[in-house]
Symmetry: C2
């Protein structure tokens, strides 16, 4: 049991809302602040990538009895559909036992989470801008503008769940011994849209994550409940094949006709979407420490913002809550040690998923179209099917297991070294499923 | 020639003052702002490491005719004196041709630079706190406190020379695509003091950089003009042999008696200095870009803050000015391209000196007491003496040449690989200066 505290959560996003439910369930008073209006009352679109919910995130929902409500608004996705040419689509199942991830629209899920949190007794304060926090007292400062008048609100504990550009972290960053990095990718992204058919059905297979890999750029599509798809174009900000190079309707239409010919039928509003929707940025943010005594703690994107290419932004944020919950169970009212153990145990895993996510852009945009890479994946799958006790592919480890990310990364690197040797075997293309290859892998695993 | 501009420099430190002189000489109006009082009117001591001025910094002074005035307040240092035990001091000359670096007190030099800048016509505004800059107009905002009232001042161009915790950079950091990192070392430092003898002479050799290397901590001493030495104790913040472990006079005295017995006579006020002077932090800060169109630019520590173990903080900052001067010569009034070329050409070298400085803590604190390492240095020196055209040691490259830091680092890494092989030769201790070793190095250099 924990003594009830008065807790502020800054940020009513996915992690903030779900954290609120967990804290409320333990008897705390929970106030969630957000600088934006109530997401349930606004039109949310135009600058998002669809979310992918997988086992780690599902576990956090399950532990508090919410997985059914959330999965009801998701669409199961069991494979990658790789659009390599005009009419050629290669499919790769994600798991061998029918494992799925869920495509969920960010707006829809966020509304649902706020609803669920409110039902659980969490109080929300929208359009309240938190600019600062006193690290020694957890008191937050709220005001219309950064330089205008502020009022203060006292709490026992304040969580910064306010995303990659967190104000709570901004305050922590001004201490000595606070390590911090933000690194932008030269890849930006833009939301596009595949509408539903007239009868509400999906225009392409809704149970696939669609990828059009084109080297240093790619298009992606994930299904929505209403029959539409949210598409995301990932591309360099400048240089050849970049957002900067597509300035006119003619350039855009020619670019799509050349690179994504099979999207012509399914993205009718390409030109309007492209020039209306903003080009967004991708950043990897790392920092440490995440907490200050028993007063302030960062969680989710505020403590570790990652690029979206592994589909683990939300899942890793939700897993933060699972770790925090374990610590609440273990430490009870000893919040200083609770938060200390939380940040120390979680940090290596946050770093690992950042690294995995960063690497996965190259895998998705370039390697999925590479014959050698596809053969490697085929060998891994074949060996894993024969020896499930000896080999779980990295993607499965990260997405379908609950193994700490840092272990998954380390084992993935070890497996990759083995596969590098295997791929160098003579005539590997012919003998890929031979006893020789099988024995070689078994040998290298020793 | 350049059309005269109205230029603000934020920060009246070494780089800000010298940059002011350069800009003034080109006919610009130059206003230097500093949040602190005029350094010439205050007592400056207690939290500094003595500066080391070497060839890169001297070149920047020389190009504008100031090297003589500055060198007059420096003390030439031609060797390391390594205090390995009670009475054992090993000496290593820095260069083979009498090359020297100069030990200069930071306070003294800063006063001198402000004097010289004022004489050149640079205007100084002390105790004026610049909190913000408008990146599109170069207008700066000044006020008593961060949250209080501000006034604005218009300029054509604003330089941030305001150090590792630059406010000008703080504004730039809030843009998209601004990469930034700050990483604190777990090593802190504290200033201690060796006073002059009664007759004004130095108690130990003033022409040596004194090091007491003790593994993960060390003491260092650099001479001052007045016969004293500024000592710096570098040590982990916590753990064994740390600042946290020295809480009482007894602990401190016992620690020095055990680890630095030969300092007992020369640091009479150890206890008072230690508990009075603050423990300071060491940070490596990297960022990019450094400039915003033709309006705002970072320079010195504001763009690349490094740890002090190579003695290149000031030298690299001064070299920034040399690069900027080259660009002013090349681009004239085309400030946008001028600043763009400045940041692009300078950034790899800033990264390289950051890396070299970081690595040098281990070299100074641990390796200088390691027999194997000393033998390696001896072989390098011997080979370099025989083949000056084939081998310049890394330290000389960095400190006595003007070769770009990034090239020095790359060649240093290459040389180190060669020396690793050489050190693994059988009986290298006996045959270190044999023809066999000489030929081996020549061979590996091919």
């Amino acid at each position: 049991m924990q003594t009830p505290k008065k807790i502020a959560i800054v940020g009513s996003g996915l992690v903030g809302s779900l954290l609120g439910i967990y804290l409320k369930k333990r008897g705390h008073t929970v106030h969630v602040y957000d600088r934006s209006p109530d997401i349930r009352k606004i039109n949310f679109s135009g600058r998002s990538i669809n979310l992918v919910l997988s086992n780690r995130g599902i576990k956090t929902l399950q532990d508090i009895g919410l997985e059914k409500e959330v999965l009801a608004i998701g669409i199961p996705v069991d494979r990658r559909a790789i659009h390599v040419g005009q009419d050629t689509v290669n499919e790769q199942l994600y798991g061998k036992n029918g494992e799925v991830i869920y495509s969920i629209s960010r707006g829809l899920l966020n509304k649902k989470m706020v609803d669920l949190a409110e039902k659980a007794g969490v109080e929300f304060f929208f359009e309240e801008k938190v600019w600062d926090v006193d690290l020694t007292t957890a008191t937050i400062s709220i005001g219309e503008t950064e330089r205008g008048e502020w009022i203060t609100k006292d709490y026992d504990l304040t969580f910064g769940a306010d995303g990659a550009f967190s104000r709570i972290r901004h305050r922590m960053q001004r201490q000595s011994m606070f390590n911090y990095s933000q690194e932008f990718l030269n890849i930006g992204y833009k939301e596009l849209h595949i509408p539903a058919n007239a009868d509400g059905t999906h225009k392409i297979n809704k149970n696939s994550l669609h990828i059009w890999p084109r080297g240093n750029f790619m298009l992606m599509a994930l299904a929505n409940l209403d029959g539409s798809f949210t598409c995301t174009l990932f591309m360099p900000h400048d240089g050849e094949n970049s957002f900067a190079s597509l300035k006119t309707t003619e350039q855009l239409v020619a670019f799509f006709a050349k690179n994504f010919p099979d999207t012509k039928e399914v993205i009718p509003d390409l030109v309007e979407d492209f020039f209306k929707n903003p080009t967004s940025y991708l950043v990897t943010m790392k920092c440490f420490p995440w907490t200050f005594s028993d007063k302030v703690a960062l969680i989710g994107d505020a403590s570790h913002a990652i690029v979206p290419f592994y589909g683990h932004g939300m899942n890793s944020g939700f897993e933060d809550i699972t770790v925090l919950e374990e610590m609440m169970e273990k430490y009870g009212d000893d919040w200083a040690n609770l938060l200390n153990d939380y940040e120390n145990s979680r940090k290596p895993n946050a770093d690992a998923i950042a690294e995995l996510s960063y690497r996965n852009f190259t895998e998705m945009s370039a390697k999925t179209a590479d014959a050698k890479f596809l053969l490697q994946k085929k060998i891994e799958k074949w060996f894993s099917d024969k020896h499930p006790d000896k080999w779980m592919p990295l993607y499965s480890r990260v997405t379908f297991s609950l193994q700490p990310y840092s272990e998954a990364l380390a084992i993935g690197d070890f497996q990759n070294k083995i596969m590098e040797e295997v791929m160098q075997m003579e005539n590997i293309e012919e003998k890929w499923n031979s006893e020789e290859v099988e024995n070689k892998i078994i040998d290298l695993l020793k």
